[in-house]
Symmetry: D2
Subunit: 136 residues, 4 copies
């Protein structure tokens, strides 16, 4: 099971007039954790494109449970849950101190061939090799 | 039916290394259209808080269909689809020139009483008054 | 004299916990006005790179005089003041309603040859052609 | 001498179409280091406002020497160089691996009394106390 986590100290510039993190900034936190996750199996963005693919996000869902404030340490956990035909990653963001869940999210990415711009309907072999799995 | 739209010329700083708008920036475009929509019935953020409520986003979903590029004119349409117990707004982002759909999205907001921080399980009367509707 | 201006309605996501535009976001407003300015003489970013150059910002200075708030209309004026060896653009940001100056800024860009990554010590001929001027 | 430093791994969303960090994002990196610096003498933003002051940035200057790329580790060093009448902080951003200087910057902040919104022409006593210095 591939999983990665990251701790972020909420910066001042991410906090809005309500004194909480503006909801759109969580998309950045998800991406930071996703990069960490992709690095655990050596398939970060530069490796993807060196192998001829990009993996655009096609679906993103966030559920906001509680808000984060300036200076708060938050943990972002990203877990790989689908890889055979697309990448589905699930995320949980928690307050480091209380372990309270702040946000839950899911992203879905599909592989696109850089050469012909066509979407692949199953994940390229290089991903399965990196993950050390075989197609079922 | 309350609806608003907004045209955005994609700025350089929203475009990523793939030369397309980074997926997280669409959350800003949604908010710009949502502000326009809320203004059509005189219930923008300052009016909300003057009336004792904030309306945090609790759920956000985006489906990315095609990508936008630097300098492209895109139209963001926001439509109010639920208001009785919560605000649900649906969005479509299109290329102005080709009318191609780029992104679809939905946001859900709930009212919170500023005084006691409690979530309201039905929309406050002021919203219905602003909308010119009665509770069903 | 090349000059361009742009009106921005301050979005909610640019406002910080002090309820004013976070100082770093003005850099975006400057770039939006700079793009407008470059378009007045047909030398926007895609044209630059089609002609073999990029023009990175090498120096940026901002003086903050007064703050902007959510929903406020602000005007950003960009004026080309040097072009022979580098691009220097001066900016003024004003409140549309009161004409009060909010921010003043200056950016300096130099041409870099895309092929050999070398900085040019005088502006490429294509810029002078676009501007309709001759080297003095 | 008060100084703080911070290491940032350049996130994908900060990189522009030229595949380098967009120049405006460095303002965020400066602020992250500034928060660290203010914490070294217990005078972070919440402490400032608890003591009745805000400290807006009034002047900001950045010199861009070289560019940073996705995934690069960069170090941001912030050093307090003036405090008696205003806060002046100087910054250097380096590549962690090569120690190459990427960006130099300076910010100037002045104290404003939260109650009457007036700018103070010398730093409030609480800052000098926190710094453990006396007015010269």
């Amino acid at each position: 099971m591939y999983q990665a986590s990251l701790t972020i100290n909420v910066p001042f510039f991410d906090v809005d007039a309500m004194e909480v993190v503006w909801h759109g900034h969580y998309v950045k936190y998800l991406e930071m954790a996703r990069s960490e996750l992709l690095r655990t199996f050596d398939y970060d963005y530069p490796t993807m494109s060196d192998n001829g693919h990009i993996w655009p996000i096609v679906d993103l869902r966030l559920k906001y449970v509680a808000s984060a404030r300036y200076g708060q340490d938050i943990e972002v956990i990203a877990k790989l849950v689908e890889w055979e035909n697309r990448l589905r990653i699930d995320y949980v963001i928690r307050c480091c101190e209380t372990q309270q869940v702040l946000t839950k999210a899911t992203s879905i990415q599909v592989a696109v061939d850089i050469e012909n711009k066509e979407m692949l309907f199953e994940s390229p072999g290089i991903l399965l090799t990196k993950l050390g799995v075989e197609r079922s």
